[in-house]
């Protein structure tokens, strides 16, 4: 198969990003340009995020193509994140992708955002058949591949880990996303305060933990609350991950999504990977958060397998679960 050049457009939540990848026998990220919407106060407002995306789209696209030294005419396909995500944000990415596809007569490839995290993780870590821990603002799930689909082994019953950290951070007056600040404050403490730890089967629940941690804010030193929150939340994830490793007997554990950047989570996972005889593979920090490269790369895999949609059938699906996607490409 000849080399492919694919543009990917990511716009599911707070990040608008474009990337060009080249797929020959191997994959190569030629460029990846992110613009993150950061609300001054409070959480993400979908419509304001969408306004941000619309405003920055032309510039991000141009910068991405320039950095890759690729003209739109040279592209083989245009991929966009079709879901899951925030409706207004998703529509911005889809509109840009459709317009380019129509104007330049390029095939259009819809990509599931979560599958994007997983496929990019595999490209960058070299994982072949891992247990995947996907930890981000949009997802908290543990999955293994089997019979053409990603099978969810366990997931959150309410909040995602990213929502837990951000909503806690908002209550503490932190800027969003709050994960990095919580992590750095937690490093200054080792005083553990009891907080609700809720595992049900292979699923986790964070809502009780969030409520209790917010209540502690007015009573205990901030570092100690951050530390305890991280300890409890990450222990829950680690416990369920260990169960998935023991059950599936797979030899690799791959961690993807924005929260993969957290060092404390990583060190906990190192313990269970070792205990269960699996190799820990963590997506590099630069690509752990939402980015165009995850869409471009997965789009290239899909396009090579013959997937594309006509411009007038390009869809977005806010609640597109990644375990519903039939994986008919090989990577």
């Amino acid at each position: 198969m000849a080399e492919l050049l694919v543009l990917g457009i990511e716009s599911t939540a707070h990040t608008f990003s474009c990337s060009v990848v080249r797929k020959g026998r191997k994959g190569e990220i030629l460029s990846n340009v992110n613009s993150v919407y950061r609300p001054e106060k409070g959480g993400i407002h979908p419509r304001e995020a969408a306004r941000h995306h619309t405003a920055v789209a032309p510039e991000v696209l141009k910068e991405c193509l320039d950095a890759a030294r690729v003209g739109i005419g040279e592209l083989d396909a245009i991929a966009y994140s079709a879901g899951p995500g925030l409706g207004p944000c998703l529509r911005v990415g889809a509109v840009v992708a459709r317009a380019l596809a129509y104007r330049y007569g390029k095939p259009l490839v819809p990509v599931n955002h979560a599958i994007g995290h997983i496929e990019l993780g595999r490209l960058l870590t070299g994982a072949k058949d891992p247990v995947v821990l996907l930890v981000s603002g949009g997802h908290t799930a543990i999955a293994c591949f089997g019979s053409r689909r990603w099978r969810v082994f366990g997931e959150t019953l309410d909040l995602t880990i990213g929502q837990l950290l951000d909503q806690f951070g908002r209550a503490a007056g932190f800027p969003s996303p709050s994960g990095p600040l919580i992590e750095s404050l937690a490093k200054r403490s080792d005083r553990f305060i009891d907080l609700p730890y809720v595992v049900k089967g292979n699923d986790v629940s964070f809502s009780g933990l969030l409520t209790a941690a917010k209540k502690l804010l007015s009573k205990e030193p901030l570092e100690d609350v951050c530390y305890s929150l991280q300890e409890v939340a990450f222990s829950m994830l680690t416990e369920v991950t260990e169960r998935a490793l023991a059950f599936s007997e797979k030899g690799e554990l791959m961690v993807v999504g924005g929260v993969a950047a957290n060092e404390r989570l990583r060190s906990m996972l190192e313990f269970v990977a070792e205990e269960q005889g699996a190799e820990l593979k963590v997506v590099p920090k630069a690509y752990s958060g939402d980015c165009g490269a995850q869409i471009a790369w997965t789009g290239a895999l899909e396009f090579e397998a013959g997937i594309s949609v006509p411009v007038d059938e390009a869809f977005v699906r806010q609640d597109w679960r990644f375990d519903r996607v039939e994986v008919c490409w090989s990577s």
């Binding site: 925030l86 309410d158 049900k200 023991a246 806010q318």
Partner: protein
């Protein structure tokens, strides 16, 4: 006196030993420390799971759900010694021919729910087929609750376990379980719990 004979299963959470308790065949379930979590948290989790497992195994039996007899609880070493239940796990015998066993699974869950207990880990490895009857184990995550949400999570977990371990017969197996559930708790209770299960599955992660 307790004598550990051999390791039966080294699980992610606990190790299960075949043992002998004053000459009776027994099972010793021991929760060992986990080095990845804070010592205080680790201790708290192991102690609370050990003590609630023993408590709920007893309560479940009072609710009419067969469970092993508890011989001894050692909170210091977070270990439980209980009656050995001879037989295969439901996981190892469930097939298109035996899918009817899932009706009993539904009945047992309903009996727990009727008595205000939610199991919280009803997988097919946690039922042992003993002399034609299902015996339920692994109550470490169980809670007292009468909330619809918690009951629905129980059924959602069963559904997940069936889909994960028995994908060929999962829909049939789950509908058998629901029939058993409604035999005990009635059609109305079944219908509302089924609706909530659908809710849980649909829950938009961005909502």
């Amino acid at each position: 006196m307790l004598e550990l004979v051999r390791l039966v299963k080294k699980g992610a959470e606990a190790s299960v030993y075949f043992a002998s308790w004053f000459g009776e065949p027994a099972i010793a379930k021991v929760r060992f420390p986990k080095a990845y979590r804070h010592e205080k948290l680790d201790r708290r989790i192991r102690v609370s799971r050990t003590s609630s497992e023993a408590k709920f195994i007893r309560e479940a039996r009072e609710a009419g759900v067969p469970t092993p007899l508890i011989y001894f609880v050692d909170l210091k070493n977070t270990a439980i010694v209980m009656q050995y239940v001879d037989g295969p796990r439901l996981k190892d015998v469930l097939s298109p021919d035996t899918v009817g066993l899932c009706r009993e699974v539904g009945r047992l869950l309903a009996r727990l729910h009727a008595h205000g207990i939610v199991h919280n880990d009803p997988t097919t490895s946690n039922f042992i087929l003993h002399k034609g009857r299902l015996v339920m184990v692994d109550f470490g995550l169980s809670i007292h609750s009468e909330r619809l949400e918690d009951r629905a999570v129980d059924l959602h977990l069963l559904k997940e376990a069936l889909a994960g371990g028995h994908s060929d017969i999962a829909p049939k197996a789950f509908s058998e379980a629901l029939s058993g559930y409604s035999e005990v708790l009635g059609e109305g209770a079944k219908a509302s719990v089924v609706r909530r299960v659908a809710d849980i599955e649909r829950r938009g992660r961005y909502a």
